[in-house]
């Protein structure tokens, strides 16, 4: 892995929200590393702090009652406390994101071409509407959308869920970012379309050597896509390792719980769950030996 350079390094990242009832601690000293072109998954249940991590990387949490600490080093620069103007240069160009629900990610009152134009302006702020149209059509053609013109002239609600997710993925990848954050990119889609969306993401990121941070709760998706895995539970990383290590030899009971929760194809019945699971956060982190 030493051939890669470190692209993203999250060091001792802490996040807390000040709420009416008092402080709510969301992330507790998270450490995470990503090399260029690497595919890393961050796995955990709802409320474990997966999505806020991506929001911090993109600089989307700037409200008054948000307290953050630590370092997010992207390309040798600490971006945790950058100004919004600085972030505007990074978003869409260096780091882009795919959200869970493609219908919610696209603006329903603008045609797809208008939304593509906005992304293209990030690439070059002098690009004409015509050039932007051609650039976007080419990108759509590459992801095997047969009639890019029709898609460009459509509103988001005129597209099916799978097609809309293709458009969103294309939009995220059109400026060839160095890092793609994928926040549950396939959960809102059904199984066959989910597979296609994952394949498409894999294909596009391979072409441009883009690193991916995949956020998900489904270990099946992790197995299909990721090379390295971090398991997060209530704001604490409880296990990290390569895909092989995590799936062949899970070390932390919470990782086991996540793996067991998926109904198996062999049909041995539904997974049994603990009525009173232990507090996984108290069990120390399990780190696999590096290979």
């Amino acid at each position: 892995m030493s051939m890669y350079k470190k692209l993203l390094k999250i060091k001792d990242l802490e996040l807390s929200f000040k709420m009416y009832e008092g402080m709510s601690y969301i992330l507790k000293k998270i450490n995470l590393e990503l090399d260029g072109g690497e595919k890393v998954a961050l796995v955990g249940e709802s409320g474990s702090g997966k999505s806020v991590t991506t929001k911090l990387i993109l600089g989307l949490l700037n409200q008054k009652n948000v307290y953050k600490n630590g370092k997010i080093i992207f390309n040798n620069r600490d971006i945790l406390n950058l100004s919004q103007n600085e972030f505007k240069k990074i978003r869409g160009n260096n780091i882009s994101i795919i959200f869970q629900d493609p219908m919610a990610a696209l603006n329903p009152v603008f045609k797809i071409k208008t939304q593509f134009h906005e992304v293209n302006l990030n690439y070059s702020n002098k690009i004409s509407k015509k050039d932007s149209y051609i650039r976007s059509c080419n990108a759509l053609e590459k992801v095997s959308i047969r009639d890019p013109e029709r898609v460009m002239e459509s509103y988001p609600f005129q597209l099916s869920g799978g097609l809309a997710q293709r458009v969103v993925i294309t939009m995220a990848m059109i400026n060839k970012p160095e890092l793609l954050l994928a926040d549950e990119p396939s959960t809102a889609l059904d199984v066959t379309v989910q597979n296609q969306a994952l394949d498409l993401m894999d294909d596009l990121t391979r072409q441009t050597n883009t690193a991916v941070l995949l956020i998900t709760h489904n270990m099946g998706v992790v197995r299909k896509f990721a090379e390295k895995v971090y398991v997060i539970y209530r704001g604490v990383i409880v296990e990290e390792g390569t895909k092989k290590q995590i799936f062949d030899n899970p070390g932390h009971p919470y990782t086991n719980a996540l793996l067991n929760a998926i109904p198996k194809l062999s049909g041995e019945g539904l997974p049994k769950h603990d009525e009173n699971p232990p507090d996984y956060g108290l069990i120390p982190k399990y780190t696999h030996k590096s290979q």
Binding site: T192, A261, L270
Partner: protein, 260 residues
């Protein structure tokens, strides 16, 4: 228990005719957990809505308990069959407490006298593993799994014989999904219910349903016992669906059919 006899349904949108269902025949027997599987747009939910009486079929007949269902259903026929929807957030009225949400079906079907209302609601909540503190709470203070439990309790309120479950767990994460599915199985045994389980998640179907029908573009692609369909899928579409399941074990990969 439910017999679907040659039902068709089409929608007309801007002069385009969409055949949502074409000549569907199904026989759901008492005690079955009958899974309806297919991708988005295959007609699963339309079929559920016809069984529920939300839509009327264009052609064909629907039978409950050897009796044909007429155009207008009596309150008894409506009591017989209940519904749990996909998205727990949008099925619960945000302006009503859990108590009044659960009280409504009890009043409509006059299940209990008004004096016993609160006790019955507590009982319903206990079936789904929630305590009586939840009665005064509003849906937005509940987690996704808790909301889905309330939706299941509401469906149980009218003492139905059949529950239609429209993707009851696809909005939940895997650990909560496992809990809700186990709960559904317990309830099925306890009240001797029949389930019609609509989903695109075949790994869930494999473990919960005894029969299944695979739908594709409004037509039945394949139907039969779950075991048989999984071990020996006949149509290409079913094979693709089974192959698309994201699995976590190597031994599962070997169970997937080969695509020609």
């Amino acid at each position: 228990m439910i017999k679907i006899d040659n039902i068709s349904k089409k929608f007309i949108i801007k002069n385009n005719v969409i055949h949502a269902l074409q000549n569907i025949n199904l026989l759901i027997e008492e005690g079955d957990c009958y899974a309806i599987v297919g991708e988005s747009g295959s007609g699963k939910t339309t079929l559920a809505n016809i069984i529920l009486g939300i839509y009327k079929q264009d052609k064909g007949k629907l039978w409950f308990h050897e009796q044909e269902v007429k155009k207008y259903r009596s309150i008894k026929e409506r009591k017989f069959i209940q519904f749990v929807q996909q998205n727990p957030t949008s099925t619960l009225n945000p302006k009503k407490t859990i108590r009044s949400t659960l009280a409504l079906p009890l009043k409509i079907h006059s299940i209990v006298k008004n004096i016993d209302l609160d006790n019955k609601i507590k009982e319903l909540l206990s079936y789904v593993g929630l305590n009586s503190d939840f009665m005064t709470r509003y849906p937005d203070t509940l987690s996704g799994g808790q909301k889905q439990r309330v939706a299941i309790a509401r469906a149980l309120a009218s003492e139905p014989k059949v529950l239609i479950l429209d993707e009851p767990t696809s909005a939940l994460d895997v650990i909560v999904q496992a809990k809700v599915l186990n709960l559904l199985l317990d309830i099925k045994k306890k009240f001797n219910l029949t389930y019609v389980f609509i989903t695109h998640d075949l790994s869930v179907v494999r473990n919960i349903a005894n029969k299944l029908v695979v739908m594709n573009q409004g037509k039945i692609e394949e139907q039969g016992e779950t075991k048989d369909v999984f071990s020996n899928p006949k149509s290409q579409y079913t094979k693709e669906l089974i192959n698309a399941i994201p699995t976590v074990l190597e031994s599962e990969d070997k169970l997937k059919p080969s695509l020609d």
